[in-house]
């Protein structure tokens, strides 16, 4: 360890090493655990990881330049939707958006799928997911994606669930992924009085498959693939040619990552450190993108302490790295989206919307109320 350089010691003391190591990316930190036992220990220290987290979210990424936020809120018992564009350092600039034509007569239960890609937002309606619209609010343009499909059998009804909207740079094409379940159409006249959805649940499923829509061909193509299904209306994200969603298969939960250029998918099981616990309750998970990395915000049900883990490498369960434990956060309900610089937006118990700045761990209200539970915030870049 003694240096040949008589003027300056070769050795970097631990406190100085901390300053360098906390600025490394997660994959490097995991590898350098092998350098020395004290390093392996340091890398598990919550203070160190918090410093890593703060450096990680403040890393500059040009993607976030010139972005604003799109906020969707639902109002009233029938969940009618309003959309606003928020901009400015404290989100003080608000512009109400007019819904695209297909939704003007029926503006209930609209969901945003993913976030914006080249200024385009994908919207669909909860329930049957059959109306999918690609919307460019800044140009007031929209495209309706055809919902019928030659793959469907003539004597069946289909229930579809959208799973992703993304851009394939290899074929320069916008794509939408969805899963379809076919049911026998009940020909009994009495059952036509029941709600369509209820009828389907008691009908027999005669087929299930995944399909992908290509804007270039304006058609749906069947995929020979078996992926975990999206959990309810959980968040879907798009990043760098891949769609990611929170999925479940045989009772196990995964982040599913689908590559739009080659129809290949990866699954990453949940981090091992938090599981459903009889004392602490079920774990709620929210999939988000923090500074261009897939991340999970987890909390035990009814608990407002949030554990934030970033995925070091897609497909590798061991690479989940918990960088932040924040809370308990007073009066906060659940995350509704993420802005830039790792700002996490929440709805509070008093209906007010607020964001948590991860670098300061301070919560700030933005002066907007979200009436119903179903608020969404996504990053919008035109």
């Amino acid at each position: 360890m003694a240096s040949k350089d008589i003027k300056v010691s070769n050795h970097i003391p631990n406190d100085l090493a901390f300053s360098i190591l906390s600025k490394l990316p997660i994959v490097s930190i995991k590898r350098f655990s092998c350098v020395h036992k004290s390093w392996a220990l340091l890398f598990q220290n919550p203070n160190f990881l918090s410093a890593v987290g703060k450096n990680f979210i403040s890393q500059y990424n040009s993607f976030y330049d010139d972005t604003c936020l799109m906020l969707k809120r639902t109002q009233g018992y029938d969940n009618r939707c309003v959309f606003d564009m928020l901009s400015g350092e404290r989100f003080e600039n608000r512009v109400r958006l007019d819904l695209p034509l297909p939704f003007q007569d029926d503006d209930t239960c609209i969901q945003i799928l993913g976030s914006s890609i080249n200024g385009i937002i994908c919207l669909y309606q909860e329930g049957d997911h059959s109306k999918i619209v690609l919307w460019k609010p800044t140009a007031k343009e929209f495209t309706i994606i055809p919902s019928d499909n030659v793959n469907y059998l003539p004597y069946s009804t289909t229930l579809t669930k959208t799973h992703g909207f993304g851009y394939d740079s290899v074929s320069d094409d916008y794509k939408v992924i969805r899963h379809a379940t076919l049911f026998e159409r009940d020909t009994d006249s009495r059952s036509r009085n029941y709600l369509e959805g209820y009828r389907l649940y008691i009908s027999k499923s005669v087929g299930k498959f995944w399909e992908i829509y290509s804007m270039r061909s304006n058609s749906w193509r069947k995929l020979d693939i078996d992926m975990p299904l999206r959990i309810n209306e959980s968040v879907v994200v798009y990043m760098n040619g891949m769609c990611h969603w929170w999925g479940i298969k045989v009772g196990k939960e995964y982040v599913v990552s689908f590559d739009l250029s080659n129809d290949v998918f990866l699954t990453t099981p949940t981090p091992l450190d938090m599981c459903d616990n009889s004392n602490l309750g079920m774990v709620e998970r929210h999939l988000v993108v923090l500074n261009m990395s897939i991340s999970l915000i987890s909390n035990y049900a009814m608990n407002t302490t949030f554990h934030i883990s970033v995925l070091g490498q897609l497909g590798v369960r061991e690479s989940w790295t918990k960088l932040f434990i924040v809370g308990p956060l007073l009066g906060v309900e659940h995350p509704i989206g993420v802005g830039k610089r790792g700002n996490i937006f929440f709805r509070k118990e008093n209906y007010k919307l607020a964001y948590l700045d991860l670098s300061t761990e301070i919560i700030e209200e933005i002066g907007i109320q979200g009436e119903s539970h179903f608020c969404q915030i996504v990053i919008y870049k035109s």
Partner: protein, 160 residues
């Protein structure tokens, strides 16, 4: 902090003497950014040559160059990139340690980020040598850990 008895701070220069005996001039406002230097000025006065035993003639001019730009508010990403462009990893390390000794926070933070960027894709062996740290894992412990972290070794040349 000692009050300046004479004219405005910005026009006053301080003399700094390195560990290898060379003398460099720095503006008092730049000296303020190096807390160690400022403390010595407070103790010894600003008229005498301040001795810096642990900083040498190779590093000090570079540090002075950085803070000259800092006091005119001209530090940009381009300047910082240019500043370290021709330095090898060891030269940056020496500068980093000097910035620490001088308690020059802005330069210290910048250089620690630069070192992190340089080490990001390096091997475990390289990092051990760089930090002057000896491996204290047994061969069995190390291979077990490497196996657990195999995914983090992908694409890394181990002998570099």
């Amino acid at each position: 902090m000692a009050q300046e008895a004479s004219s405005s701070t910005s026009s006053k220069t301080i003399s700094l003497k390195t560990g290898d005996g060379e003398i460099f001039e720095i503006e008092a406002s730049a000296a303020k950014q190096m807390k160690t230097v400022q403390r010595l000025i407070d103790d010894l006065g600003d008229d005498i040559t301040i001795p810096l035993h642990n900083v040498f003639s190779k590093e000090l001019p570079k540090i002075i160059e950085y803070y000259k730009k800092d006091i005119t508010g001209e530090i940009t990403k381009d300047f910082e990139a240019e500043f370290v462009k021709d330095l090898n990893d060891d030269e940056v390390k020496v500068l980093f340690l000097a910035a620490n000794y001088l308690d020059a926070n802005k330069l210290f933070e910048f250089l620690s980020q630069n070192i992190a960027d340089r080490l990001e894709s390096k091997s475990v062996e390289y990092v051990r040598k760089y930090f002057g740290v000896e491996n204290d894992f047994t061969p069995e412990e190390e291979s077990k850990l490497r196996e657990e972290r195999a995914w983090s070794f992908r694409g890394i040349k181990e002998d570099e």
